[in-house]
């Protein structure tokens, strides 16, 4: 009961947060110099004052800002994200169409970076000062320092253009046909690795430090004094404690991944919402941009919610209080 109460309380908070995000996004966009009406008019090639005024009227841009905000909030909450001026489609429909690609990419990258990063970090942290540790730390620093777009381009250069092992772009869903699982995975591999590398570096460092810290704690000495084998101590005593900071970090990074995917989606022509948002930004497609912001924000809030709930599960010390 207490647990359910906690989850519903957090859900309520998350909903309130989203409403705040929607309003803030809306106001931020309105603060950008430039009038949407003139942009639309410019797009249509008719910039005379009458036309602009008519556009203002049609789109409700002549109303006071707060009224516009109210309209926007009501529409958004009833899942009407509006119409893209440029692409002449419904914003929500397009986002829904593009969302699975982003979820597949970021989800795969998230899991891949966690598994690889934490494993390497634990291997390094359980034998600090060894050659393996030094090597892993070197890799971590290298991955941390190299820019994402450069790695992406290099991977394309080596694995697609030279070796012809993997496709350089797209998902395999283009041209209306449905690819096989292997086909899709071969498309996913390079962008996923590109997006993961930075986070792998972060998790290596975090997991390593955390394992080293926990190894020096008293209860590990106690476990040793009981005569437990060291592999058992690492698995049962060190890891559960060392993983806690990684969970916290992973929750924060999960939201980060979505924004990180903008660059990767652009490099690999991956048809996700990252690229959609980037294009909307360049073309001043406000409704589309707001829609992408909102969906991204919702994902971040949801992921943090999941992390909070997960934290209660992995750490019994978290008292369920307001």
């Amino acid at each position: 009961m207490q647990f359910l109460g906690y989850v519903s309380w957090r859900l309520l908070k998350a909903a309130a947060l989203l409403v705040a995000v929607i309003s803030l996004n809306f106001l931020l966009i309105r603060m950008v110099p430039g009038d949407p009406a003139t942009v639309i008019a410019g797009e249509s090639g008719m910039a005379d004052a009458d036309f602009v005024a008519r556009i203002r009227e049609i789109y409700g841009l002549d109303q006071p800002l707060l009224v516009q905000l109210k309209t926007y909030l009501v529409n958004t909450l009833s899942l009407d994200f509006g119409h893209s001026y440029r692409l002449q489609t419904d914003v929500l429909a397009l986002i829904i169409e593009r969302l699975p690609a982003t979820i597949a990419l970021t989800g795969a990258a998230f899991i891949f970076s966690l598994v690889v990063g934490v494993s390497l970090g634990v291997i390094a942290g359980s034998r600090p000062g060894s050659k393996v540790d030094v090597a892993i730390q070197f890799v971590s620093v290298a991955l941390y320092s190299v820019p994402v777009f450069w790695i992406g381009l290099m991977l394309i250069l080596v694995f697609s253009l030279k070796l012809h092992w993997l496709p350089a772009s797209g998902t395999g869903f283009e041209y209306g046909q449905i690819p096989g699982v292997l086909e899709f995975l071969s498309h996913l591999l390079l962008p996923m690795i590109t997006l993961s590398l930075f986070y792998i570096a972060v998790y290596i460092r975090l997991a390593r430090t955390s394992v080293v810290d926990v190894t020096h704690q008293d209860f590990v000495r106690t476990a040793k004094s009981k005569g437990l084998p060291s592999a058992f101590i690492l698995r049962k005593h060190v890891l559960p404690n060392a993983i806690l900071p990684v969970v916290t970090m992973a929750a924060l990074q999960a939201g980060h991944l979505v924004s990180g995917s903008i660059a990767v989606e652009t490099i690999f022509a991956w048809p996700g919402i990252g690229r959609l948002g980037y294009e909307a930004l360049v073309q001043r497609d406000y409704n589309m941009l707001l829609g992408v912001f909102l969906v991204t924000a919702t994902m971040v809030v949801l992921l943090n919610l999941v992390a909070d709930v997960l934290y209660v599960v992995v750490d019994p010390r978290i008292e369920l209080v307001r």
């Binding site: 109460g5 906690y6 209860f219 106690t222 404690n241 369920l320 209080v321």
Partner: protein, 542 residues
């Protein structure tokens, strides 16, 4: 049974000395208790770790060293053989039961691991029965529930009992207990000591008890080994060491032990109360679920007075509310009901500038000399910050700081140094100088000597007594240690669960306590449970 010969342990280069342990030899017989005594840094814990094969990787033993258990030299064992000895033949109990247990694993499971790691093939139900039986054996009342509990839901005493259960699960031949009662209340300490003695009588194990407390030595030791910076300076039977200590260091340690019944008459002018606490109550809200908060009363209608020039000791176990009183008096926390009057003025109604003025008058010295000084602040700034905030010119404040540091026994060269350059005792002197800088009417010492070694503790207590004579300080001395209270105070107030249960002149409290709880506290003090114990009888040796 356990023979240590020529044990020398090398410290990494750059340490303050080359050897952590220098050529130490002694032996412990089955069924007997050896107390390993010394101050922090003396190497007593390192010996314990060496015997249990738990030396940190940075330390290693010299070649000629040997630790023999049943004929084998433990130091020549490989990790695999060590693993079979640890937990089965040598058990270990650590000082801090909170950190010595895994916070994410129920304690029952942590105890069950001992059986599993030593190859006992038991069915689940058997393991559960054994674990619960063991928990019951160490005096845990609800073993089935505690077995499934995490450590953060257990009291300090329960944790240490669980720790002991873990260490004795395989009935080891040797048990090493490294300050196992230092983190516990005096009554809990008494119970844990009794429990260990009980087990020893039952299993005839050899007990190596590492401690800094001569009271405990007087209670439980058969033999005593005194360590000073890595050297074994004295070894002998308890009677010999306590009554006829040969080495000057042992005599110095013994002299530093706070004693009961050793008090001079009060010098306070009893007429004018400086501090008057009336009907003080304080409740903390504790959340029991997301929608419910339960109120926990930490102070319940507390009344007392402190007169000018008087030292009053506030004594109680953890959770008795003594530190909450300190926080209320310094206005660091709010108060539910009641009044606090300082020099007749109501302290609680003050705000803003008047409150600032008041803060000057009540100063506090905290328990932890490490945590209570800002590590990036020079000593002179730490000491003069108070006066400067009160409007003293910075040049004058510096002179004042210099003067005060001299008074507390530190030279003027302390002024421009940082806290990490000082020892715990020196830091506590700085803390006292800082408190005195404000020229307080009342000085509150909140467990100010609890974290210190016994000789350092004695020095700080002497300093406080001296300051009191010279400056006519009025002091509220908060402590859990009745021996310390007995040494410094004119009057003692005994607190239990937020209530004042007894109050009276120090001498009277010690000789004729009228409250049962005070009596049990007195009885629990190690070294005086039998009033004729060697320590008390021979208090004039030094």
């Amino acid at each position: 049974m356990l023979e240590i010969e020529k044990l020398s342990i090398v410290l990494p280069s750059g340490a303050d000395r080359a050897l952590a342990i220098k050529d130490v030899s002694f032996s412990v017989k089955s069924g007997s208790t050896l107390c390993l005594v010394g101050e922090s840094g003396s190497g007593k814990s390192v010996i314990g770790q060496a015997v249990a094969g738990l030396l940190p990787q940075t330390l290693h033993c010299l070649k000629q060293s040997s630790i023999r258990l049943g004929g084998r030299n433990l130091l020549s064992l490989d990790e695999c053989a060590w693993r079979r000895i640890r937990g089965r033949e040598i058990g270990m109990v650590f000082q801090e039961p909170m950190t010595a247990l895994n916070p994410l694993m129920p304690v029952g499971q942590q105890i069950a691991e001992v059986y599993r790691s030593h190859g006992l093939r038991l069915r689940k139900a058997e393991v559960r029965d054994r674990v619960e039986g063991l928990l019951e054996r160490v005096g845990i009342k609800d073993p089935a529930r505690i077995s499934k509990s995490y450590t953060f839901r257990m009291s300090g005493g329960q944790r240490q009992r669980a720790m002991i259960a873990m260490a004795v699960a395989m009935k080891p031949k040797v048990l090493i207990a490294d300050e196992p009662t230092t983190a516990l209340d005096v009554t809990t300490q008494r119970q844990v000591l009794d429990l260990l003695a009980d087990f020893q009588a039952e299993t005839r194990m050899a007990l190596i008890f590492i401690t800094h407390d001569f009271g405990i030595v007087a209670d439980i030791a058969d033999e005593v080994a005194v360590m000073e910076s890595g050297n074994l300076v004295e070894f002998g039977s308890k009677e010999d060491v306590l009554a006829r200590a040969q080495h000057r260091y042992t005599r110095k340690l013994l002299a530093a032990v706070p004693r009961l019944h050793e008090h001079k008459a009060s010098v306070a002018e009893r007429s004018t109360p400086v501090l008057e606490v009336r009907g003080l109550s304080k409740t903390y809200g504790v959340a029991t679920s997301i929608f419910r908060r339960q109120d926990m009363r930490v102070l319940n209608d507390v009344n007392f007075k402190v007169c000018k020039g008087e030292v009053v000791a506030l004594v109680g176990e953890s959770g008795s509310g003594k530190s909450t009183i300190a926080k209320c008096l310094t206005r660091l926390t709010s108060i539910d009901t009641g009044s606090i009057r300082l020099d007749g003025a109501d302290m609680l109604s003050l705000k803003g500038e008047a409150l600032m003025k008041l803060r000057r008058k009540v100063q506090i010295v905290f328990q932890d000399p490490y945590g209570s000084l800002n590590p990036r602040q020079k000593i002179v700034d730490a000491v003069s910050a108070g006066p400067i905030a009160q409007g003293v010119a910075s040049r004058e404040a510096r002179e004042l700081a210099e003067h005060l540091l001299t008074i507390v026994g530190l030279g003027r060269n302390a002024l421009d140094r940082y806290p990490h350059e000082f020892s715990g005792g020196q830091r506590q002197r700085i803390g006292i100088a800082r408190a005195l800088a404000a020229k307080p009417e009342v000085l509150i010492a909140d467990e100010a000597v609890s974290a210190l070694d016994v000789t350092v503790q004695a020095q700080i207590l002497r300093l406080l007594a001296d300051l009191r004579d010279r400056l006519g300080l009025t002091m509220l001395f908060i402590t859990h240690d009745l021996r310390v209270a007995g040494q410094v105070s004119d009057r003692i107030i005994v607190l239990k669960a937020g209530n004042v249960v007894e109050e009276g002149p120090t001498q009277a409290i010690f000789t004729k306590p009228s409250n049962q709880y005070t009596y049990s506290l007195l009885q629990a003090i190690p070294g005086i449970s039998s009033n004729e114990s060697a320590l008390v009888r021979n208090k004039c040796v030094c």
